[in-house]
């Protein structure tokens, strides 16, 4: 428990403070090592700045002995400021990486070397967790730390997953079904399980995520590439502007120093967004990780922002946990005791929460629960039969949806009582789920199961609607029940009596009309649909197949997490867009600072263009480059936190961001450069 408590604390500190001292230290050294042209080359904007910096270095040295390029001090300062610009940009990327790494580390810490009880030829050997390979079996008992990600193949256990989810309530994981997955680093609190290792060491989702954040396998997303092209275009325009300025200036008999050319160029190209671009991308994945979602690629986060349709399972997402049995309704001419006995017998073999709730209700109404007879043979629920039950010698009991039981009953030539049909309808239209129970093709009665809708879920759906996301509830319930719950919870659409292929078909149909679909799932059944969906989020508790098929894994197993993921995706794009706008809008003020400074010596009439009344050409140019450099670290927090998304409609959002970042981007540098000039003019 100590270990997990520690990591929770650790997570808290990393999520509240923007960065710790340790991260800053790490990032600072990385900022220097990232200066290597091989790395800079991938960012065309900053690469050109690096070239400019090198040129300024040479010019500074030249100006020690030759005065025609301005004083050494002036050139050296320009060089130094450009160098800082590079470092700031690298630092932004490095700090984003450090944050992501720290977050990932705090998760990884929980799965450091732990002893594992390897099961080999029915013998238990104690080995180190790092030596486990995919397919190995191990045993975990109460008090053990689970050494590796795996799937329970035998047994049931309560597990403390607080180390990864921060949730202190223990959870139950058991073999078979959709809750068979265990995560390395979590702790078994009771019972004993046999687990098969599902990942190779170093290949878990977390390891992949860390590699993504560290940049080793980070690929630019399509949108990032498109934006890079636009920024490269802007850079090219300014190369043309600055190159053509040389003959223009010669013609006007205005000598322009190299420092002035390079300053003009560096100020005009979009260094602000260029310097922060990769930090924004990394921070997006990092924010997902902070929400306890592991993404397999940056693209998945981006796509999440575009989602049009969201498929949500009813159970656990819209309604609290599982349905509970609330009533027994015996069929006409059937004794209540016989009915309840059959119900209990069939539920004793039923491990589902619904089955357990039936037993609970039976004992509540005073029925003594018998032991399960030895000859009982469980008939499990399948999506095809939509019924389960038990066979006891020549007695067979089935419970399930009305139409499936009706089928079974009528096949044997027995009649299906009209009253039962009526009763099921009235239960369903009140949001309940009727389960019809029959014994040897004779209807005995109906069990009513009721759902409880989570509080606050309506508001979340309302928020999604405002974002333009359509919510679809997926449920195995009959259409009447489904409709009742859908209306009550406020979802836009529902799929009732859903079979696994229904989800798949629904997704395909929506995609065919051009929509992007996200879904969350946990079962092996969900795997094809998760793979088909544009964004598939698997719960960490889900099966390995589901996790493999999805592009994100939610460590909290929280089905409403998709809402957060959509917002993180939107934030990512918005941060890029607003900072691009800001960066380019800045150029207006920089032009008004530098252009008059270039020409005013030989064309004094152009003093009229110096609308900021900057002190001297040197102070104007220095103020502009200094502003250009320091705006990067000033904006790092914004790049890391992301621009806040507000579901106020696209046009209103555009208007807001245009005013804040567009108009703000025009005005802020006028003020900033003027203030810097007042300071710099003390020396220049």
């Amino acid at each position: 428990m100590l270990l997990s408590q520690h990591s929770i604390d650790n997570m808290k500190t990393t999520s509240n403070a923007l960065f710790t001292q340790k991260m800053v230290k790490e990032a600072l050294s990385a900022a220097f090592s990232k200066l290597s042209p091989k790395q800079m080359y991938h960012n065309p904007v900053m690469f050109t700045v690096e070239i400019g910096t090198v040129v300024m270095f040479l010019v500074s040295i030249y100006s020690i002995s030759q005065p025609d390029q301005g004083s050494f001090v002036y050139n050296a300062i320009v060089f130094f400021v450009l160098f800082l610009t590079l470092l700031f940009a690298n630092f932004a990327e490095a700090i984003a990486e450090a944050r992501g790494k720290a977050q990932a580390e705090s998760l990884r810490k929980t799965r450091e070397e732990t002893p594992a009880k390897l099961l080999k030829n029915d013998q238990i050997q104690s080995v180190s967790s790092s030596s486990l390979t995919k397919g190995d079996l191990f045993i975990c008992e109460a008090g053990d730390i689970i050494p590796s990600d795996g799937e329970i193949i035998e047994g049931l256990a309560t597990i403390d997953e607080s180390a990864i989810t921060g949730e202190s309530a223990p959870v139950i994981r058991e073999a078979g079904g959709d809750k068979s997955s265990v995560t390395g680093g979590t702790k078994v609190l009771s019972d004993k399980i046999k687990v098969r290792v599902t990942t190779q060491p170093g290949e878990s989702f977390l390891d992949k995520m860390i590699a993504l954040v560290e940049g080793a396998s980070r690929q630019k997303s399509p949108n990032e590439i498109a934006l890079t092209i636009l920024l490269a275009g802007f850079t090219l325009i300014f190369i043309i502007v600055c190159v053509s300025l040389k003959p223009f200036a010669d013609y006007a008999n205005t000598p322009i120093t190299i420092a002035a050319y390079i300053s003009l160029f560096v100020c005009l190209i979009p260094t602000t967004i260029g310097g922060l671009l990769s930090a924004i991308g990394i921070a997006g994945m990092d924010r997902a990780l902070r929400a306890n979602v592991i993404t397999k690629s940056g693209k998945a986060v981006e796509t999440a922002g575009d989602i049009d349709v969201l498929l949500l399972d009813k159970t656990g997402t819209i309604t609290i946990g599982n349905r509970k049995a609330t009533h027994f309704y015996p069929a006409p001419n059937q004794k209540t005791e016989d009915f309840v006995e059959a119900v209990v017998l069939s539920s004793l073999v039923d491990e589902t929460p619904e089955g357990k709730s039936v037993i609970e209700l039976a004992s509540q109404i005073g029925y003594t629960i018998p032991k399960l007879p030895m000859e009982a043979k469980a008939i499990p629920f399948t999506a095809e039969t939509r019924a389960s039950g038990v066979d006891l010698g020549n007695i067979s009991i089935r419970k399930g949806a009305m139409d499936s039981i009706k089928n079974w009953v009528e096949k044997a030539g027995n009649s299906f009582p009209e009253e039962v049909v009526e009763r099921t309808k009235s239960i369903a239209s009140n949001g309940g789920t009727p389960l019809v129970v029959a014994q040897n093709q004779q209807v005995l009665g109906i069990i009513e199961l009721q759902d409880i809708i989570k509080t606050g879920i309506q508001e979340r759906f309302e928020r999604l609607r405002k974002m333009g996301v359509k919510t679809v509830m997926v449920t195995g319930d009959n259409p009447l029940t489904a409709k009742y719950i859908a209306q009550k919870a406020g979802v836009d659409d529902f799929i009732a009596e859903a079979k696994p292929e229904d989800k798949m078909n629904y997704i395909k149909a929506e995609q065919a009309s051009g929509k992007l679909v996200a879904m969350m799932g946990d079962g092996t059944n969900d795997a094809p649909a998760l793979a088909q969906a544009d964004v598939g989020v698997a719960m960490n508790s889900g099966t390995a197949a589901a996790k493999e098929a999805s592009n994100m894994v939610d460590l909290d197993n929280d089905p409403t997490k998709l809402i957060e993921i959509v917002e993180i995706g939107k934030q990512l794009l918005m941060t890029r867009g607003t900072l691009t706008t800001f960066s380019i809008a800045n150029d207006v003020a920089k032009y008004f600072a530098i252009v008059p400074a270039l020409f005013v010596a030989s064309i004094p009439a152009l003093q009229s263009l110096n609308i900021m009344r900057l002190h001297s050409p040197e102070s104007a140019i220095l103020s502009a480059v200094i502003f250009n450099a320091i705006i990067i670290p000033i904006l790092i927090p914004l790049a890391l936190r992301g621009v806040k998304y507000r579901p106020i409609g696209a046009s209103a959002l555009l208007q807001r961001n245009l005013i804040v970042y567009g108009l703000g981007g025009v005005i802020v540098p006028f003020i900033g450069i003027k203030l810097l000039d007042m300071l710099v003019s003390v020396w220049f």
């Binding site: 498109a226 223009f248 005009l268 049009d308 867009g577 032009y591 020409f599 009439a605 046009s651």
Partner: protein
């Protein structure tokens, strides 16, 4: 001046009122649905289809459309070269004007082929009537129709949900001629005839003036050519002095008719987009952006022309009529300034005053009109240029609202951005590079004889020449001695590049987008027909142009303006 101001306001409003139904008509034609005009024009069109071996129902991809466009352009070029170089012995040459030399023929053929109409000859002495009509006037029709047909392909691509087939280019092209340009040109030419523009095939008239001198007055089939030079944003006049010539533009009314003709189709194309896509509000937003830009150019221009030249003020000469240098007295400052701006925002280039004599900041407005080249713009191509700005604006706006950028349900990705960025880059690249080389030469060899006005104004002249070429405009700051191999060749290259690449780019983007999967619009989709998006589009245009040209404008018109004392 107040009456003149009322006059241009009325002209502008009348143009818009005419452009609205014209836009509806253009949209109906490009839609291709049965239309009343079929009965009138169907017969002649079928004849063209038969001669050309065209199946008008066969739809083409964007690549096929561009191939068709480029190949017919090549044929016209060869045809024009043949006529220009042989007009001396060919018939219909009453004044016995000579054939052109190869380099002049090349220059003329290219500039008419690209809808620019840079004229290094004078119509009166350099062209036969055969050349004027079958070569130059022919090109004025077909090149205008080329731009419109390319624009129709983009319209169609924007409308399709997912399709490779974007209509038949030849059909768009022929119908643009038969149903839009020809009928309109007939009407305008007819009106001009009433105002006194000549339309005959006789040679020069010999006139004895009251002073007893013998004067030769050039005439010819001018009215027809003047009509299409304005309607098709060509700008190439029948006479050397263009629309300041008293026989090309004799009266206030002929001036008004021609002013309307210059921006009629460019505005109508924007409205046509609204009708065609059934997005009238979007068309109005685009028109609004263009108009705000237009007003922002014309307002300072009028102000500075009315103020007159401070240097003349210092001489003690009153300038109640404003800056009259280089203006025709029958038009005055207001009408000439209005013309100077409408001819530069569209890629027309016809002039009714000397642009070289405009006040520096009026000249800057004219320059900016051509640097943007999308405020109404040339027929068809103006919208194509604007389309690139829309793509960039949509991309930025999409990011700002947290959604992968999309235009009418089509995602804008790396490939489209690459093309759009390239097209947006090309215009400043050609202008700045050309001007850069020219200023370099002018600086190295001050006695080369290009510049009659050294200093800032000379710089503006060189900048104007390349801007006019890159915008396929054709007007000039005529103070520049530009009839030299350097200028002929360098502007010729700029002309060709800046005509075809900005047609190929937008058509390619639209074609690629048309092929993509269509995403239905939802609550999260950004609506483009809003004031906010309009402001963004305006800001994108302003920033892109201002950023690229600010230093050049500083050394030219701005430096000249601030130095005027």
């Amino acid at each position: 001046m107040e009456t003149d101001l009322l006059g241009i306001v009325a002209t502008f409003i009348l143009t818009i009122l005419l452009a609205w139904p014209l836009g509806k008509y253009i949209s109906a034609i490009y839609t291709g649905a049965p239309h009343w005009s079929d009965k009138i024009f169907g017969g002649i069109e079928r004849l063209f289809y038969k001669i050309g071996g065209i199946n008008p129902k066969l739809e083409m991809t964007w690549q096929e459309s561009l191939k068709a466009l480029l190949s017919i352009n090549l044929i016209w070029f060869l045809f024009a070269m043949f006529i220009l170089m042989n007009q001396g012995w060919l018939p219909w040459n009453p004044d016995h004007n000579p054939s052109m030399s190869p380099d002049l023929a090349f220059n003329t053929a290219v500039s008419f082929l690209v809808n620019c109409n840079l004229q290094h000859y004078s119509g009166e002495t350099g062209m036969s009537y055969l050349g004027q009509i079958t070569c130059l006037m022919f090109l004025q029709f077909v090149t205008a129709a080329t731009g419109m047909a390319a624009c129709a392909v983009v319209f169609k691509a924007m409308r399709e949900q997912t399709s490779q087939k974007l209509g038949n280019f030849y059909t768009y092209f022929i119908q643009s001629n038969t149903r839009i340009l020809l009928p309109l040109a007939l009407v305008v030419a007819g009106l001009l005839l009433f105002e006194g523009v000549p339309m005959n095939i006789e040679g020069k008239a010999n006139i004895h003036t009251l002073e007893g001198n013998a004067v030769q007055v050039a005439r010819g089939p001018a009215a027809a050519m003047v009509a299409i030079k304005q309607l098709g944003t060509n700008g190439g006049g029948f006479f050397g002095a263009n629309s300041s010539h008293p026989l090309e533009n004799p009266t206030y009314w002929s001036n008004a008719i021609e002013s309307i003709s210059i921006i009629l189709i460019p505005i109508a194309m924007v409205f046509a987009l609204g009708f065609y896509l059934n997005r009238k509000k979007l068309a109005l937003v685009i028109f609004g952006v263009m108009t705000v830009g237009f007003l922002a150019l014309i307002a300072p221009a009028l102000y500075f022309e009315w103020q007159g030249n401070p240097a003349i003020d210092h001489l003690g000469v009153t300038q109640t009529l404003g800056n009259m240098e280089g203006k025709e007295t029958r038009f005055g400052t207001t009408l000439s300034t209005y013309w100077a701006i409408i001819t530069t925002v569209t890629s027309n280039g016809s002039v009714n005053a000397m642009h070289d004599s405009l006040m520096p900041l009026t000249g800057m407005s004219a320059l900016l009109g051509m640097m943007i080249n999308a405020l109404y713009g040339g027929v068809g191509v103006g919208f194509l240029n604007f389309y690139v700005f829309i793509i960039i604006a949509v991309f930025i706006a999409g990011l700002m609202v947290g959604r992968t950028p999309e235009l009418f349900g089509k995602k804008i990705e790396a490939r489209e951005m690459k093309i759009a960025t390239l097209i947006a880059l090309l215009h400043p690249f050609l202008i700045l590079l050309g001007t850069g080389i020219a200023t370099y030469v002018a600086h190295q060899k001050p006695d080369i004889g290009w510049l009659n006005n050294p200093g800032f104004h000379g710089f503006s002249e060189m900048l104007y020449e390349y801007t006019s070429s890159a915008a396929n405009n054709g007007s000039g700051f005529e103070g520049l001695g530009d009839n030299t191999p350097f200028w002929n060749i360098s502007t010729g290259i700029v002309l060709i590049l800046s005509r075809y690449i900005p047609i190929i780019g937008p058509v390619a983007i639209a074609g690629i987008l048309a092929k993509k999967k269509h995403i239905p619009s939802g609550a999260g989709t950004l609506q483009l027909d809003t004031l906010t998006f309009g402001i963004l589009m305006f800001a994108v245009i302003l920033i892109l142009v201002a950023l690229a040209f600010f230093p050049a404008l500083t050394l030219g018109p701005l430096a000249e303006h601030f130095s005027l004392k």
